[in-house]
Amino acid sequence: MTDSAQALVSDSYKYGFVTDIDEDRAPPGLNEDVIRFISAKKGEPEWLLEWRLGAFGRWQKMSEPKWANVHFPPIDYQAASYYSAPKQKAAPKSIDDVDPELLRTYEKLGIPLHERKALAGVAVDAVFDSVSVATTFKDKLGELGIIFCSFGEAVREHGDLVQQYLGSVVPQGDNFYAALNSAVFSDGSFVYVPPGVRCPMELSTYFRINAAKTGQFERTLVIADKGAYVSYLEGCTAPQRDENQLHAAVVELVALDDAQIKYSTVQNWYPGDAEGRGGIYNFVTKRGACRGARSKISWTQVETGSAITWKYPGCLLEGDDSVGEFYSVAVTNNRQQADTGTKMIHLGRNTRSTIISKGISAGKGQNTYRGLVRVQPKAVNSRNYTQCDSLLIGQKCGAHTVPYIEVRNPSSRVEHEATTSKISEEQMFYCRSRGLSQEDALSLIVNGFCKEVLKELPMEFAVEAQKLLSVSLEGSVG
């Protein structure tokens, strides 16, 4: 490795800072009292408390999934604290009311709240640890009848909608981490787009893990009513930590007749240091239901962070002629492990799905694509096309592809292709002989490899994602 490359590798995590704010936190441990505490803190209605307790009951009977190709020391679920909220006198009425320390944190992250209106029409619902502190563009969205608020606020103000859809895509007992989330979820975002409305701007939430020893359990629910359209962006950065932090989010999307949801993620949680110390455990359940005819859900993800990623955004294609898409770039460097992919469940007639997955392994990273395409007997004329490509950089990393294809209908067509390759010396030489540095050449080749996925991202995100890819792979060639 060249000196300059070495210098880049040893660059510490750019977003590794800790904001010092007084917090309200639950005592460590998890039991019914803690859940009652969380629910009471948030002033939740009785039905939601019951729902949480139901999930907790299920969670207690479940065990952690062991099938993923990831390895980590056992998690002590009783050692973590399940609630922490920034202390505030009263709910902020405007940005001026928000704790200036918080604002400075966002500034470091590159999302200056006071400039949000200028931020190319992006409304930001910033989540700081567990409680949403500020939501913007609410009025503008409100004119169109679009609800975009924190989950807690949605429970208070739109309880009927939340009650109708919560857990309808990811049930309480769906899996171990989803059940945990259902029991203790802190906050998150809620979006409802009324019939026929096209959301005029991209909705965005920045999640940020802050307090040490606090798992973060967001709950996101996006509903696009008949004929509605919404594009939702989720981006993450987390401060540097020595201890592993658990992040078990649940995202549910519901698209009714002719509705479209585009959900984009750039995930850049702290990945741990070069020796694999620290870093986030990102165990996320994301699922969308194309409930209505001709509905469409599209997932795009760029996963560069986290020590361990366990994530399978999927689509239930229930409505006739509905469409599911999954575009993914996952990068593992140093000792990162990622086991990620998608599930496309074809239930309705003429349903279509596309899966494009690009996995990049470098250093000692282990990258697994795990995906399921299932065509049920009634999914007449359904189609799936899957392409999984892996790129290996270095001799110590691993790339794995584990697709499941289960077809129960003869009129369907399912195709799967996968390739594994390395960056060839010819490609490298070609770029180098034209004066590109090693790092620039790598970045160019990798971005080319991921182009099919990156072009699916909204523009501002695509730019950030390209930079992230380059930063994540710095020092891996040489």
Binding site: P377, G394, Q395, H400, P403, E406, N409, K422
Partner: protein, 396 residues
């Protein structure tokens, strides 16, 4: 010792043969213990998630009888081709190679059961440089109960052979075969198996092959018979060795078949080609599980895996899991899988030329399946296998 319920009946019928060498009696006892402790695999076991073992678990099989026929043709000097029972008496040092560590240590449960219970099988062993031509053939026909066959193929360096195994029978029985294959440096083996068991039968066949440098191993399996069947092929590469695995499975009625293939690249410079074709009619179910594993240091690996299936009926189903596990960077690996029905445009093209719908469908299915037969190099043998497929198609 904990005994799994479904394994208990097999423990009861276990009778070590007093006349056998001590090492074998010892191995059988260990294998039996491994099996009864483990029991049958369940759908929770990743490698068995698509295989429904209920027909086997419903009623235990008594030890049964089959007829093993060896057709050696003209054997050259330096070639041994005999039954396992005879080999155990006359050449025990060769026969010993048929038992592997994994049989005793609780690898695949049915392989352990086989090691504990087998009565016979075949052994083919070639000395260095010996070429066996034409192919040798074994035919096994079964009638009742459970039949465990333990087979062994050992090719010394630079030898060549083609062997054809054929399994048939009538009635409700269970054939469980384990074949250990070793291909020496520069040697070449073509291994063909035709599973044509009776419609009520259960057939499990496992092949474990180890290759030395520059060895070539071609394996072709044609699966037509049995109510429930499974073929496991596990290959460990040598440096620069070549593996060509192909399979065709044609199923109808309520037949169920699984092909599970694991190819392990621990040595550099080896090549793997896999092609599996499935045709599923009526209420049948087919599954393909393929793993290509490239270990650290297995640079310059070139592996390609393809699985395709045709579904001909609304109630037929297929599960496919082509898996790549790659821990070396200078490799070329690819897999492809596809499921669909016959192409309507192609059917229309044939019909427009006056070919009836049934005949047109048969032509297309045959063309689809025969691609997998390319692994068999001998045209005569290939023609013979293709003819069997035609019979199957016309029986519809």
């Amino acid at each position: 010792m904990a005994v799994k319920t479904e394994a208990a009946p097999y423990l009861d019928v276990f009778r070590p043969n007093a006349g056998e060498p001590a090492w074998l009696r010892d191995a059988r006892a260990k294998a039996r213990d491994a099996f009864v402790a483990r029991g049958f695999p369940s759908r929770r076991d990743e490698a068995w998630r698509f295989t429904n073992l209920r027909p086997l678990a419903d009623k235990p099989f008594e030890p049964g009888h089959g007829k093993l026929e060896l057709k050696p043709g003209s054997l050259p000097k330096g070639a041994w081709f005999a039954s396992m029972a005879r080999t155990l008496i006359e050449k025990p040092e060769i026969a010993r190679r048929a038992i592997g560590e994994s049989d005793l240590a609780g690898g695949q449960p049915f392989a352990s059961l086989n090691a504990a219970m087998f009565a016979d099988g075949f052994v083919l062993a070639l000395d260095e440089g010996v070429t066996l031509d034409p192919p040798v053939e074994i035919v096994h026909s079964a009638g009742d109960g459970s039949i465990n066959l333990r087979n062994l193929i050992v090719l010394a360096p630079s030898s060549r052979a083609t062997i054809v195994e054929r399994y048939c029978g009538e009635g409700a029985y269970w054939t469980n075969t384990v074949t250990t294959v070793s291909v020496g440096a520069g040697a070449s083996l073509t291994h063909v198996k035709v599973q044509d068991e009776g419609p009520e039968a259960i057939h499990f066949g496992m092949v474990r092959a180890a290759l030395e440098p520059a060895a070539t191993y071609r394996n072709f399996g044609l699966t037509l018979g049995a109510n429930l069947s499974r073929q496991d092929v596990q290959v460990a590469h040598g440096i620069g060795s070549i593996v060509d695995l192909a399979g065709a499975y044609l199923q109808r009625g309520d037949q169920d078949t699984t092909n599970a293939v694991v190819v392990d690249h621990a040595a550099p410079g080896a090549t793997t080609r896999e092609l599996f074709k499935g045709v599923l009619d009526k209420r049948s179910h087919g599954a393909f599980l393929g793993t290509i594993r490239v270990r650290e240091g297995a640079q310059k690996t070139d592996a390609k895996q393809t699985s395709r299936a045709l579904l001909l009926s609304d109630r037929a189903s297929v599960d496919t899991k082509p898996e790549l596990e790659i821990l070396a960077d200078d490799v070329k690996c690819a897999h492809g899988a596809a499921v669909g029905d016959l192409d309507k445009d192609t059917l229309f093209y044939l019909r427009a030329r006056g070919i009836g719908i049934d005949e047109a469908r048969r032509m297309l299915i045959e063309a689809f399946v025969l691609e997998a037969f390319e692994t068999v190099e001998q045209p005569e043998l290939r023609g013979h296998l293709a003819a069997r497929v035609r019979v199957w198609l016309e029986a519809a």
